[in-house]
């Protein structure tokens, strides 16, 4: 039993001072986040471990409005995820299309869609932030309601079937 965090399964982190990392958006706004929250991104974690994060980490292609939302989510989930569980897959829309959102280190925010294998399954909406080919992940969630009729969705998907081939 730990007297500090008042639980039986203390990992010893409760008494530590949280290290803060600064993330700098494209419009030069600084966001202070706990190292733990920022480390949900593999890239940022690497930078921290390499000692590159001292002056703040620039994210030249993410504006402050987007970054604010992303960090809100990360802060909420920092305590509940271990560093390796950084990739939760989530979906946009209920049409069976998963969308993946990602800030790349030096490049634009990249969104990748992966067709949902079990189409028709009712998936909660949200998305995963992922970096290009690497598997670093920040997380943000947003809701999108699909206002197409199912037959229209099918028609559009058929028209653009080539886009779904890998």
């Amino acid at each position: 039993f730990c007297e500090i965090c008042l639980t039986n399964n203390c990992d010893g982190s409760a008494g530590k001072i949280a290290t803060m990392i600064a993330l700098v958006s494209s419009d030069n706004e600084r966001f202070e986040v706990s190292e733990e929250a920022a480390s949900q991104s593999q890239t940022i974690r690497n930078m921290i471990e390499d000692g590159c994060a001292d002056g703040g980490i620039p994210l030249p292609n993410v504006t402050s409005s987007v970054l604010a939302k992303v960090l809100e989510y990360c802060n909420k989930h920092a305590a509940t995820t271990t560093p390796d569980a950084a990739s939760t897959e989530a979906v946009i829309g209920s049409a069976g299309t998963r969308a993946v959102l990602g800030p790349a280190r030096h490049g634009p925010v990249v969104l990748r869609a992966v067709p949902c294998r079990a189409a028709g399954r009712r998936c909660p909406e949200g998305c995963r932030l992922d970096e290009g080919q690497d598997a670093g992940a920040d997380q943000a969630t947003f809701k999108i309601e699909n206002d197409f009729r199912p037959e229209d969705v099918e028609k559009i998907r058929k028209e653009n079937a080539w886009a779904f081939e890998e």
Binding site: Q42, N61, T63, S65, V66, K69, E72, Y73, K76, D84, A85, A86, S87, T88, E89, A90, I92, G93, A95, T97, A99, L101, G107, P108, V109, V110, L111, R112, A113, P115, C123, P124, E125, G126, D134, A135, G136, Q139, A140, T141, F142, K143, I144, E145, N146, D147, F148, D152, V153, I156, R157, N160, W162, A163, F164
Partner: protein, 380 residues
């Protein structure tokens, strides 16, 4: 790659990214293929990706991204039997010089679009031109193949021509000139060009087309000029050639192109020495001046032409296509030429099963930028 554990994000505690930001900041940076997948997500997404402002911004961001090259391979047989032999296939492959390490650094080639004919087909391909994501491929028998390989739109048209020539939406026909505006659908004649346009690959920019023309006079037809056709007011004027042309005539091995808003000329000063001249940064309305930007020593003499395909943001590195076969990277600071890929030696690059006889394709490479610009509708 880190191991991914699948778990589903809870739907209850969510933060909302406003739709406008999602579209204007995030979707607009995605590859075209991804955007086509997202058309069925919801109505506003589909509408947004078809909106001209979105298309323009997407193109702008695409231009600012890492350079890529479009390769249109052509069988040599088609050139041996010029305008007689046909191929039932036309392919557009995107070649991305990798940023990785290794000697030579890795290159990725991706088949973007393969067009097949069940009957007929295309004759030998002329030099393709590219502008804003749209590629135009003329053929020996006077056909035009137009495509946006990223969106897979295609347009194919036959012409009866007296001279064979390539045009970027403009054509020379004797001394006439007609423009086809995509989305409008008919060829409209414009004023006649003041001089006879030579069958050479033109430079195509959204603001103007540049043709090499012979400023013919009865006794000396040799000097060539650069004719500019401004699309805004559909008029011709003459702009200066780079001063390196001996006798004022463009050399047979020389090539003209446009990169990052400037006109480029690769001039073969000697068989294995190429000087690259750049025009001043200009609007297609102004006068322009030329100056030497790079001097490249090649490993062997040029046989056909040298075409600059891309330049790095800091202008230190230039990607060059030589003789429709090899891609080189020239580093101006180190004055070093490095081979990126010999496209004839690497059939694996294209994932094709190895043919029994080595099939030496000719690789028409042009600079390429992905876009959503439509051939059939005005969405730009």
């Amino acid at each position: 790659m880190a191991k991914r554990r699948r778990s589903v994000a809870s739907g209850t505690d969510t933060t909302i990214i406003p739709d406008e930001i999602l579209v204007s900041e995030i979707l607009v940076r995605l590859p075209v293929k991804a955007l086509f997948r997202f058309r069925s997500v919801c109505r506003s997404w589909r509408a947004a990706t078809q909106d001209p402002r979105f298309v323009r911004r997407h193109l702008q961001l695409s231009r600012a991204g890492p350079p890529s090259v479009l390769d249109v391979p052509c069988e040599p047989r088609l050139e041996d039997y010029w305008s007689q032999a046909r191929s039932k296939e036309l392919e557009f492959r995107r070649v991305s010089p990798g940023g990785g390490v290794g000697s030579p650094p890795p290159v990725r080639a991706e088949l973007m679009l393969a067009v097949e004919w069940s009957a007929g087909g295309v004759t030998a391909l002329g030099n393709p031109v590219h502008c804003d994501g749209i590629v135009l491929v003329p053929t020996a028998s006077g056909e035009l193949f137009l495509s946006n390989p990223a969106t897979r739109e295609c347009f194919y048209r036959r012409f009866d021509f007296v001279d064979d020539a390539g045009g970027g939406g403009g054509y020379d026909y004797d001394v006439g000139h007609e423009v086809l505006t995509l989305g409008v659908g008919t060829w409209e004649p414009t004023e006649d060009p003041p001089y006879a346009v030579v069958p050479r690959r033109p430079i195509c920019t959204p603001g103007a087309f540049y043709y090499t023309a012979l400023v013919a006079s009865a006794d000396d037809p040799r000097p060539s000029e650069l004719l500019r056709f401004r699309t805004r007011d559909e008029t011709f004027d003459v702009v200066p050639n780079p001063p390196c042309f001996s006798g004022g005539v463009i050399g047979d091995l020389d090539e003209l192109t446009e990169l990052r808003g400037r006109l480029w000329c690769a001039h073969a000063r000697a068989p294995a020495a190429v000087d690259i001249w750049l025009s001043t940064d200009h609007d297609d309305d102004d006068d322009l001046e030329w100056s030497v930007a790079y001097r490249v020593e090649l490993l062997r003499p040029v046989k056909e032409f040298v075409l600059p395909l891309a330049v790095s943001a800091d202008s230190d590195e230039v990607l060059l296509s030589v003789d429709r076969r090899v891609l080189y990277k020239f580093n101006a600071k180190k004055r070093a030429l490095e081979i990126v890929v010999d496209m004839q030696r690497v059939p694996d690059l294209y994932g094709a099963p190895k043919p029994e006889l080595p099939l030496r394709f000719l690789h028409h490479a042009v600079p390429y930028v992905e876009s959503l610009v439509s051939i059939h509708r005005r969405n730009y």
